[in-house]
């Protein structure tokens, strides 16, 4: 498929520069600088597209400072598809002006994330570091490893696990195993599988699937992202639903239409686990626990709330698990994780993490749910001891599985 990546002139024209996106942009909130705002970034893309300025280091810096949280997109009354435009702009820049650090980043998310043995090796390494207690020896950019769950020395994968029961399923579900999700969050997959099976679904995790390609798309590795999308279109063929328990991945699967032939079909069948389960609870096909077990803070991952506009579902799940959901941030500003961002923009990531922790602390609960792995890592790294961070589906699974 010939990729038609943005930003197209129609997309650029869609911005009337009203500025209503500004307060929703985390980097504008921190800096107060138009350069670090969605409107400023769109102006920059437009100026480069029509040749008024060169795509130089300043331009590259303006693009890479964006978290791609897409909060601006949800706030835009003119419906500017900002996320797609930023992905396209980064891909074009990668072609025109490849830099060493960019190449490394694209190699990492475009290729290495798909090498299961390498990820497994890394996971084992993390498990050893955790057991030896030498986390503080890591360089600053790697400190996010503090936010990882305790890893298994011999990690297991969900890929290739097929479901033999029940005889007449309510429907067939392909579970996107994901890259780091598969290695670092096996308990979330177990909960997802467990809950969907109770509701009568057959849950498979097809062998031929790949990483969804979201990180590759965000970093401008468009070729890799397209290749992964094509593989997944084939791998998920024939399933009623494709479910992901990582908000960043479900958001990207829903964007597949412009990444691969047949992508529309994947997009139409994709459900984030939170929306899927919230609907099953609503329909009475999954139980509600009517007990008050206390307060749980709900963190809204950007790619759940802003990219997919899913707001109520995680709260409904928390409620069905017998807890009281507590909001922490009316604007749902990014926590600073943003995929690789926390590695290459540690200052901004840390400031956003600090602000989010302040909000969580002010809200009160010691348990926080987050439906995206990056956010969970970031929150745990910043919250430190005394807090529990988990996926809402785990909270629900633990509540009903006893």
């Amino acid at each position: 498929m010939k990729l038609s990546l943005g930003p197209s002139s129609e997309q650029l024209d869609a911005c009337v520069t009203c500025g209503l996106c500004l307060p929703h942009c985390p980097t504008f909130r921190i800096t107060g600088d138009e350069i670090a705002s969605p409107r400023g970034r769109l102006t920059a893309m437009g100026a480069v597209a029509d040749g008024r300025v060169e795509a130089d280091d300043t331009y590259a810096g303006i693009l890479s400072y964006c978290l791609q949280c897409r909060a601006c997109e949800a706030a835009c009354p003119s419906l500017v598809p900002f996320g797609q435009m930023m992905e396209g702009a980064r891909a074009r820049l990668a072609e025109r002006r490849p830099t060493t650090s960019g190449r490394i980043r694209r190699l990492l998310v475009g290729r290495l994330l798909n090498m299961k043995w390498l990820l497994a090796l890394l996971t084992s390494g993390v498990a050893l570091i955790q057991r030896l207690g030498v986390m503080r020896l890591l360089p600053r950019r790697m400190r996010l490893a503090r936010g990882l769950r305790r890893q298994r020395v011999f990690p297991h994968s969900a890929v290739g696990v097929h479901d033999l029961s029940p005889a007449v399923p309510a429907g067939t579900v392909a579970l996107l195993a994901g890259c780091v999700m598969d290695q670092w969050f096996p308990d979330v997959h177990d909960a997802t599988r467990g809950v969907l099976q109770i509701a009568g679904y057959q849950v498979d995790s097809p062998e031929t699937q790949r990483c969804c390609g979201a990180l590759a798309a965000h970093e401008g590795a468009a070729g890799n992202a397209a290749a992964m999308a094509a593989r997944n279109v084939a791998a998920f063929d024939g399933y009623d639903y494709i479910v992901s328990d990582a908000a960043g991945c479900s958001a990207h699967l829903k964007d597949y239409a412009h990444w691969a032939d047949g992508g529309e079909s994947v997009a139409a069948r994709t459900r984030d686990i939170t929306e899927f389960v919230a609907e099953l609870i609503e329909e009475g096909r999954l139980p509600r626990i009517s007990r008050n077990r206390g307060d749980v803070a709900v963190h809204d991952p950007c790619h759940l709330r802003h990219a997919q506009r899913i707001i109520d579902a995680p709260r409904a799940i928390v409620r069905a698990a017998g807890y009281n959901p507590v909001d922490i941030d009316p604007d749902a500003l990014c926590c600073g994780a943003a995929g690789l961002y926390m590695v290459y923009e540690p200052d901004t990531a840390e400031e956003l993490g600090r602000r989010k922790v302040e909000q969580i602390t002010a809200a009160g609960p010691k348990t926080v749910v987050s439906a995206n792995p990056g956010c969970e890592i970031q929150l745990r790294a910043h919250l430190g001891r005394g807090f529990k961070v988990l996926h809402p589906i785990e909270l629900y699974w633990q509540a009903i599985d006893r």
Partner: protein, 473 residues
Amino acid sequence: MTLVEQLRSTLGSERVHSHPLELLIYNKDAGATSGEVAAAVLPETTQEVAACVRIARDHGMPIVARGAGTGLAGGAVPEDPALLIVLTRMNRIWEVDDHARTAWVGAGVFNLDLSRATDHLGLHYAPDPSSQAACTIGGNVATNAGGPHCLAEGTTVAHILGLEMVTAEGDVLILGGKAPDPPGLDLRAVVVGSEGTLGIVTKVLVKLTENPPAVRTLLLTFDSIEAAAAAVSDTIAAGIVPAALEMMDQPMVIAVENFIKGGLPVDAVAVLLAELVGLESGVTAEAEIVERISREAGATSVKVAADEAERALLWKARKNAFGAVAQAAPDYYLHDTVVPRTKLAEVISQVYAIGERYGIKMLNVFHAGDGNLHPLVAYDSREPGMSERVRTAAEEMVRVSVAAGGSLTGEHGVGLEKRDLMGLVFEPVDLDAQARLRDAFDGVGLLNPGKVLPRGARCYDYGLNVLPGETAS
């Protein structure tokens, strides 16, 4: 040292922009005009602002102050190269006095953030421009901003008690204060609405308003603009001043509905949004009267927001209206004129006729209660001759508003956009008085030159010579 070097040594290089792309990003606001920026700086303290002013002055470089850049009249767009002083980093809320109901806030505080920060005290900052989530208090002061709720509460000037301002010389003044009637000349009211031509406001002492005990928000539909306009003037003639009374026409409602997907009445020709606030019993009684008057005027349906969520949705629809226009065309030109309420229907039909005559697409959204029209022209500036056509049509719309006994601008300010139309509402002697006032603050024309007053606003430019105490013939 060059200007930029000197600014860098004062603020550090991160907060001084001089790269062509960075300057291009800063060369326009939310309106249609763009300008030229020599350098953009982001000071954090009043002292830093003063230092920047002195540096620019030494280099003979004009200065333009900017907030979040949500202005629509080009007030923060430098016509000729200037130093842009961006005040968004001065976003601290310094002091909230919940007994006196006042707050000292930085010029860069977002309007809505202030109301949010004082909500737990049962207080809010009343003026609420549609861009209130994104616009700054400093920018509100510069333009004497209005908003839906200014119908009952008055515009920005009624909510500013004091100002801290850096003068064209780089000195720091405090104007006004907590006293209800400060002694001496009231320079505070002079500065509000002066669009950065008299000084750079760095801190603002605002009046906070009590959150109303009860709120009722009504959505009324009509099958003609005239009927909706009649409902507006009849309501106010009946002695009811709603907290807000807003109108949108059908194309506008359709565009907004595409964004918020809230089930707005897209079939209605005109929609009125009316909000009543006060004690529960009064609000209930007033809502009944508004409903009766509207039905008599031809309202086809009346819906009351059932809860806070529904009310929030209706306001989201109204406040995002102007941004939704890109669904119609890539550029917009948002007008801002005022007409007497009784002439509302008449002027609106003239405005529609002008739009038709020039073949331009138009959406309408306005503060009907105070007769503040906002015809929104959606166009594509790449179409040959289009921008000129839009401008000519705009000028005609202003002329019909003024001819009906109205005014040039309701709340967006004069800026660049309306500057050359000032002669429509002011006699040379009036403009001269304003020019003299400006000279008293800034004799060399350093601050936001070329804004508000048309070039040649001084009497000698008109061949008049008016001395203090005399009147022009």
